[in-house]
Amino acid sequence: MRLKFTVNGRQAEADDVWEGESLLYVLRERLGLPGSKNACEQGECGSCTVRLDGVAACACLVAAGQVQDREVDTVEGLAGEDELDAVQRAFVDAGAVQCGFCTPGLLVAADDLLERCPSPSDSEIRESLAGNLCRCTGYEKIMDAVRLAADRRAEEARS
């Protein structure tokens, strides 16, 4: 099948997509966007988190055909080239990145959280990141990063 949808604001097309392929496979293997990760491909780890029409979703659980004519945002679209947005910067600065395999999914999930809820409580952060596994950090520095990103965004909004 032929697939057309919008990725990070740009029109994308893929040909000969087999009907069993997931959105994750199409992004990674057909569109050259391997930022979304493939830690489980069973909907259990969140490493493939993208936004589908603005709503966070596991790209491994979305059949490619379902995204026809829709909008997908991935980690690659969080900031312009050579830039980092506040959430990305906070993850680096807070030491929330070790191996980094969980990071793209967490960034998309955290970005989504901060958009819905600009100054989340710790409980709210934990609840909304509960679907994103990280095996390296023990999550403490991820908590720090999200708090830092929230503060910086608030500051940016004030100034």
Binding site: R28, N38, A79, Q88, V92, C99, G100, G138, Y139, M143
Partner: protein, 773 residues
Amino acid sequence: MNDHAPARSPQDLDDAIAGGIGESPIRPDGALKVRGEYAYSSDLWAEDMLWGVTLRSPHPSARIRSIDVSGALKTPGVYAVLTHEDVPGDNLYGLKDVDQPVLASDVVRYKGEAVALVAADHPETARRARERIDVDYEVLEPVTDAERAAHDETLPKVHPDGNLVRYQPILKGDPEATAEVVVSGTYTLGMQDQAFLGPESGLAIPAEDGGVDLYLATQDLHSDQAQTARALGLPQEKVRMTLSGVGGAFGGREDLSIQVHVCMLALRTGKPVKMVYDREESFYGHVHRHPATMYYEHGADADGRLVYVRAKLYFDGGAYSSKTPVVVGNGTTLGVGPYVVPNVRIEGWGVYTNNPPCGAMRGLGAVQPALAYEAQLDKLAEALDMDPVDVRIRNAISRGESIATGQVLDYPAPVAELLERVRALPMPPERDGTELDIRELPGGASNTTHGEGVYRGVGYGVCIKNICYAEGADDYSTARVRLQALGGEPAAMVHTAAAEVGQGVVTVQQQITRSELGVERVTVHPNDTDVGKAGSSSASRQTYMTGGAVKTACEAVRRRLLDRVAERFGEAFGDLSLAGGKIVSASTGVLTEIVDVLGDEVIEETREYHHRETYPMDAEDGSSERVQVQHAFSAHRAVVDVDVELGLVKVVALDCSQDVGKAVNPDAVVGQIQGGSAQGLGLAVMEEIRVGDGAIRNPSFTDYLIPTILDTPPMKIDVIERGDPNSPYGVRGVGEPPTISSTPAVVAAVRAATGKDLTHVPVSPEHVVDFGE
């Protein structure tokens, strides 16, 4: 690097970031990682590449009567189907004992063993073709009980020489000593998975010289290279390896997985071939932590001073030996914990069974006994009506005292201090009935309690772990450092094979180079086999070993530079140093710029760093003057809330004090301790690969649960630096200890909350609650 490097390939890390030793500069790979641009081994791509998949045995023990690949070969889009007959070199590999076939030939020894390979133009085509391979098995009775495998000669032999991989006793003092107070117990530990998030993967590209270039995720490039070359029947220089992004490791990437397989497919088809395991295959495709059964008896005097420890430890190595010999060595040598014990008799057995193979995982061989000896110390405290921390402090080992093998610790061993410190850390707030957030109770948002039936408990754990390779292994790492002027600035390049697996050894190499050479710009070259060995990113050894190699290579570069300066300015060599891109004399101040001395010249030096020699253990009594090069210690305090009606555990706090010798990067050290603590928490209350009749029952993240952000509490980390005079900068390995002491601390806290014995980890609800028949 070769001309046909994949389109997405490992990047030079050259972000200009300031920060030397003792500072916490950000990671040079951080920006790439948060942009989604860091090239992990599963992200690689090459024009015209094929996909490889593996057919695995459905039986834990069987004889292979025949393999018919004709159906698979006929599938359109399939380029190759390979079996043991196609292995070009030796069809055997292994880390210690060479006992594992690349592809099974006559028998399969575990469920999940690799039997055949397929390469096709789409992964789904390859998977469908795999289903058309016809293997005729004669199913055999599997050996599944490790303790029986150690003693029962009538069991089938998993390998021709029998089922014992290693037996090691340690005898010290009077092994039959008696004591006033005696406590005993039997403890068992389930099989834990490393559960790194980045799946096993790699891209092999056939080269014009008949060799192959492999881009992959691993912990040790040269170990993989040697084993792969041997299986491919190629000289090592024709099997070139480059590290791609590694999505965590924790020991699970020490053994080969895709390496030989993907190279065989690439060499056979003449095309680039990529292999990526899915999560289920990953559970079958790498080794796990050894499950153990441990019998312990501790004797003490009336003051709580240990008189003796007697123990028997059984480690189930599964179908292949992997790191089992080392697990037995570590488990026995560290089997009494960080305590002074005059009389010891410990015996350790590592065995073959038809269970999944077990090998390296963070805390190798030290995690298992820590569960037992710490439970025993708590029992002793109870029997003597002593405080559990006090009884530990009374017996704590310190500098100048010896471990069970007789080795004297000739460096700081601040065990008592760590216990005092972790005890003094502020406690989390008491739960009061008024502002109850049910998300913070056991069961969380599933709303199983509003605080009724919830009890709080506090527990402690402390541990000892050896750092680097042991028992006489020649442990070394190699670094190449180049200094030159680039754009009017001094710039250094560091090249090692030290696998960056997430721990931050890239940052450490930059920091050391900056401090040693007084330059800001330090690029880390991708890790590959074009430079000498670094050894494995395991045993908490890379900062020590590769840090030592980078330091030594920098010193050689500096010597060449300063020789020239000494000559030119007539200064004494010993007065000269490098800082801020300048050459500074202790007597006359700033002499000149590094770039002026360098001119167009490139100074490059390659050096090896070897740690102090270690020696084997005596086969009869385990004694050894120096069996291990260094020991590290950490202490945890866990606070838990347990819903005793449902058996649900919520870890409320998990705080740690650890001695790291010297924190080269303090923030990264804290990150290691928090991550390690969380893995220990996982083992304590949730993580177990359930094995029945040799088969893994839960090979998915749906059924094998690792801690989420909801399961992991805030963790206060208290780092102290009691430098080791024998190591570079005084560093002490960091990564493993927190994984070890956290588990017994959490279990002790659950015991304190419930009054239950709890002799198995992970603790599950049925251990806490009597659910009846």
